[in-house]
């Protein structure tokens, strides 16, 4: 994990730099159907993260050799804008974003009924406009909403959260400072009703007990985040809301 610092990440009462308790999430807001051209889309604000997701497809797999004769291929592309971070990031894919794109694609494939669309591809474009720690999970959580808004059949929604360790204590939903100077980072995403884990990564230093604590915290939090996802979809697509629009 990150380097040593003199910043005190937790005060004597266990309150974090941004005033949160160890198990408190940052504010999350999701909107759906925010883009005109895409088949589905979503926008998420999670703390200082601002991420736009567009979904195209299912459409014919291209190039042809990437097609799967048994199912659709989910191609997520996680991309950070050059201005999304403190130091300008060179535009275009780097090794980190290639890895994130891979694990996010795999996580979404677990939820999407890919077997219904052999030889097709589903493109998911995740554009991080402003980054504030936890972008892969925020992007994936929004991507799940965008896929649903595209009307693509899914067996479940994907919802995630991170936990980590700062000053020896397990905390939920790391902030940027906690991510930079903390001792561990555990991003995790599950299918929201079955709680099956579809994305898990970790770096840093966690004991087995700390892992147990962190994973329980995440699972609990995903219930709340799933509720925000649901509200985003129902407020846009329920019969009442469509009626209001007309």
């Amino acid at each position: 994990m990150g380097s040593e610092s003199n910043i005190k990440l937790l005060d004597e009462n266990g309150i974090r730099l941004d005033g949160r308790t160890p198990e408190q999430l940052r504010p999350i807001k999701i909107e759906t159907n925010v883009l005109e051209r895409a088949d589905g889309s979503a926008y998420i604000e999670w703390g200082g993260n601002k991420i736009m997701v567009a979904v195209y497809g299912p459409r014919e797999g291209y190039p042809k050799h990437t097609q799967d004769i048994e199912k659709a291929v989910v191609k997520a592309r996680y991309n950070m804008a050059a201005f999304s971070v403190d130091e300008r990031k060179r535009p275009g894919p780097d090794r980190r974003s290639v890895e994130i794109s891979k694990v996010v694609s795999e996580a979404l494939s677990s939820a999407i009924m890919v077997e219904q669309f052999p030889r097709a591809q589903i493109d998911v474009f995740i554009e991080v406009m402003q980054a504030d720690a936890g972008t892969r999970i925020a992007g994936l959580t929004a991507a799940s909403v965008a896929v649903a808004s595209a009307g693509i059949p899914m067996r479940d929604m994907v919802v995630g959260c991170t936990a980590g360790k700062v000053e020896g204590k397990v905390v939920l939903d790391l902030s940027k400072e906690e991510d930079n100077f903390g001792q561990a980072d555990l991003p995790m995403a599950v299918l929201s009703s079955s709680k099956k884990i579809v994305l898990i990564q970790m770096d840093g230093d966690l004991s087995l007990e700390e892992f147990d604590q962190a994973s329980e915290m995440i699972l609990k939090a995903t219930d709340n985040i799933a509720e925000i996802q649901r509200n985003a979809l129902t407020s846009r697509y329920s019969v009442e809301s469509i009626g209001d629009g007309e």
Binding site: E99, K102, I200, Q201
Partner: protein, 260 residues
């Protein structure tokens, strides 16, 4: 991971492996948690600062370390640099192609790198020549020569073995050559889920059959230093906890066998 040359595992093989596993048996006679025998040949390439040829079952990888002086990253002026790269050589598999790293090789390299970095195997603070200006840059390059599953663990074994035997060519900077300071020994254990079974150190067929993959890298204290799930299947939290336990137990055994 790539599918086999024909693109699919034959149905007969698939049902055979699955049926065997239900009885706790594997194609090559191993138990579900057993690793294939590994042979590690260090200093395989004397021209490198450190190297190791690792054969894990029929998977074969060669790791080489080069250490050169260079500029530190601006945000970590007082620490050396570690970079890990994996190349899937076309000789290793019918569908591997020459060219820039793809998502498979990038993922392997980054998971191996995370294990080494987060375990604090190398004390990068000791790699400073001139604070803020000049540090040692440790390049770990891993070539995949022959592919029969579980590249992540083979690559971690090879990288760790090569780093343990590496020396810093300090004579080039007016000092004396010295061994690379290494401390912790990270060991990665990769498992795949086939049906409801968790299988350690999958060979190619098992990897293709698996619905999801999990790598857990631990250090001697039993702490988790890196984790990575792969493939489009899923794990329950209980399965993950079980896998972590397996990794720390198996990791301890492997550490003892190959690194003591």
């Amino acid at each position: 991971m790539p599918r086999d040359a024909l693109g699919v595992l034959s149905e007969i093989k698939r049902s055979f492996i699955t049926k065997q596993l239900k009885e706790g048996k594997r194609g090559d006679g191993r138990g579900v948690l057993d690793f294939r025998e590994a042979s590690i040949t260090t200093n395989y390439v004397p021209r490198a600062a450190g190297s190791a040829m690792v054969q894990l079952g029929k998977t074969r990888v060669l790791a080489g370390v080069k250490i050169e002086s260079g500029e530190p990253f601006p945000d970590t002026p007082n620490s050396g640099v570690l970079t890990t790269n994996v190349e899937l050589l076309p000789m290793a598999f019918p569908t591997f192609e020459a060219g820039p790293p793809n998502e498979t090789s990038i993922e392997i390299a980054r998971v191996v790198d995370r294990g080494i970095r987060e375990s604090k195997m190398i004390d990068t603070q000791k790699l400073v020549i001139e604070p803020g200006k000049k540090v040692w840059i440790v390049f770990v390059d891993i070539n995949i020569m022959d592919f029969d599953g579980n590249l992540i663990d083979a690559c971690t074994l090879a990288a760790v073995s090569a780093l343990r035997t590496a020396y810093i060519p300090a004579s080039k900077e007016g000092g004396k050559d010295m061994p690379l300071p290494v401390d912790q020994i990270p060991v990665s254990v990769t498992m795949v889920k086939i049906g409801d079974e968790i299988v350690c150190d999958p060979d190619l067929e098992e990897e293709q059959l698996g619905s999801a993959r999990l790598t857990v890298t631990t250090t001697e204290d039993g702490h988790i230093r890196a984790m990575q799930k792969g493939d489009s299947g899923s794990f329950t939290l209980d399965e993950i906890k079980k896998a972590i336990k397996i990794s720390s137990d198996t990791g301890a055994a492997l550490r003892k066998k190959y690194f003591s």
